[in-house]
Amino acid sequence: MEATIHLTVDGTDRSVDVDTRTTLLDALRERVGVTSPKKGCDHGQCGSCTVLLDGRRHLTCLAIAVAYDGAEIVTADGLGGADLHPVQQAFLDHDGFQCGYCTPGQVCSAVGAIDEAKQGRPSHVTDDLEADVQLTDDEIRERMSGNLCRCGAYPGILAAVREAAQG
């Protein structure tokens, strides 16, 4: 079954023809032509397809595109507009990547994670569920655990997120 859906991708309105089987990830990459979300595992296990969907970090590989008609999506490509987003700059400053494949997903996830902490949302390692959240290294590691890095750039990623969270 074919359907036409409307998405806002990195600030631009798009009308996209999809089959009901098309995932949001394939719609973005193959139909819209925005290739910053990456297909790592295609099963929700690696985080490389992460975008911001209606303002929150979200996978795109386990999402059927037709179900997200009307969504506003920001990929790593559109995060900073013409400039780099502070999280992207921090990844550069701290060598938060090697091959770069996981990076667009890491960056979107970090933006979402920092925002969640600002809203006071607890994590698995937060001692007091009702207190404000301090983004300690343990907190950052836990909150970023849905993004795997095959190159093992974790120390740089941690440093980048730590710095960006303070900014």
Partner: protein, 329 residues
């Protein structure tokens, strides 16, 4: 993936009627489990009935508890102020599961109805009675580290993977359902079933029954509750075993205690024998150990699952004794 129709009904009743009228139709919520199964070939519905935008997304109090709509996201439920203060076990169980991104997509209803992570269930090239009734159980002889040790059958040794479900089993929650014949309410413990000779069926729901909400009593014990999950890595992994505990100690003895285990059975395992053994006793490590061993008398292990017995015993002791210490302090 096979070609599918996609429909987005406007009301819960319309969603139920659509699934009732179309053989091969399935509800779709966040999709984090169902879409995975479409790709793997584990599920091949003819119609996806999208319920994610139905207005079932409120967390609200009722007399004696908190009612959670089926579409409340796992992340929003975990950080809801009412849940954090009155039902910390629910927050903790959710936060111990999946990843930040997945919790932003996964719903309460979908979480409870997610299917086993048994590797053979997910691999269509191998026999599996749950996926293909009568084909056999590959996990009996194969990779069995995650297999059940309680309530399993020769047909199926799969475990239920949800962390939230373990918390809700401990808290005596109820599930509100809508079917073609109207609404009904069941105790949470009756939602999931043991495999017996029907491994394909995870729950007691009819195929066209929609979860509308979960109701969780906010008891004194629930306020003193904790979830402890043991896994192969520190984060983003399913449970080897997990323990949901809630306890109320009065005058030095246990007045109310709830224990549920994850990773051990086809459903969350409410350890009622262990609970009964503890009521009226001082909550010491020895008492908990004895109570757990009483419950685990029925356990059947293999060399691959034998580790679960001491792991469960130690994890339960730690969970309950820490709660009791916090209560004294």
């Amino acid at each position: 993936m096979r070609a599918m129709e996609y429909v987005r009904p406007a009301t819960p009743a319309e969603a139920v009627a659509t699934v009732a009228a179309r053989p091969g139709a399935r509800f779709l919520a966040g999709g984090t489990n169902l879409v995975d199964h479409l790709k793997l070939g584990v599920a091949s519905p003819e119609t996806l009935v999208d319920v994610r935008r139905l207005p079932l997304d409120a967390v609200e109090t009722y007399d004696g508890g908190v009612r959670v709509g089926a579409n409340v996201l796992n992340s929003d439920l975990a950080s809801h102020p009412l849940v954090r203060s009155r039902l910390p076990l629910v927050s903790r169980a959710l936060l111990a599961g999946a990843s930040g991104q997945i919790r932003n997509q996964a719903t309460t209803g979908g979480n409870l109805l997610q299917r086993t992570r048994c590797v053979y269930f997910q691999d269509v090239t191998t026999p599996c009675n749950k996926r293909e009734p009568g084909s056999g159980c590959s996990a009996l002889e194969g990779y069995g580290r995650y297999n059940a040790i309680l309530g399993a059958s020769p047909a199926c040794v799969a475990t239920h993977p949800s962390d939230l479900a373990v918390a809700l089993a401990a808290l005596d929650a109820s599930v509100v359902l809508l079917g073609a014949d109207g609404e009904r309410r069941i105790p949470f413990e009756e939602l999931h079933r043991l495999p017996g000779d029907d491994a394909a069926t995870d729950t007691t729901l009819g195929p066209d029954e929609l979860i509308l909400a979960v109701e969780v009593p906010t008891t004194e014990a629930a306020r003193r509750s904790a979830y402890r999950k043991v896994r192969d890595r520190a984060s983003f992994a399913f449970a080897l075993v997990s323990v949901a505990g809630a306890v109320r100690v009065t005058d030095g003895v246990v007045e109310d205690v709830r224990i549920a285990w994850g990773g051990v059975a086809h459903k969350p395992w409410r350890a009622r024998r262990a609970e009964a053994a503890l009521v009226g006793q001082a909550l010491t490590a020895d008492a908990v150990r004895a109570a757990v061993d009483d419950e685990l008398g029925a356990a059947e292990t293999t060399p691959q699952t034998a580790y679960k017995v001491p792991m469960l015993r130690n994890t339960t002791v730690l969970t309950l004794t820490q709660l009791a210490e916090e209560e004294v302090a």
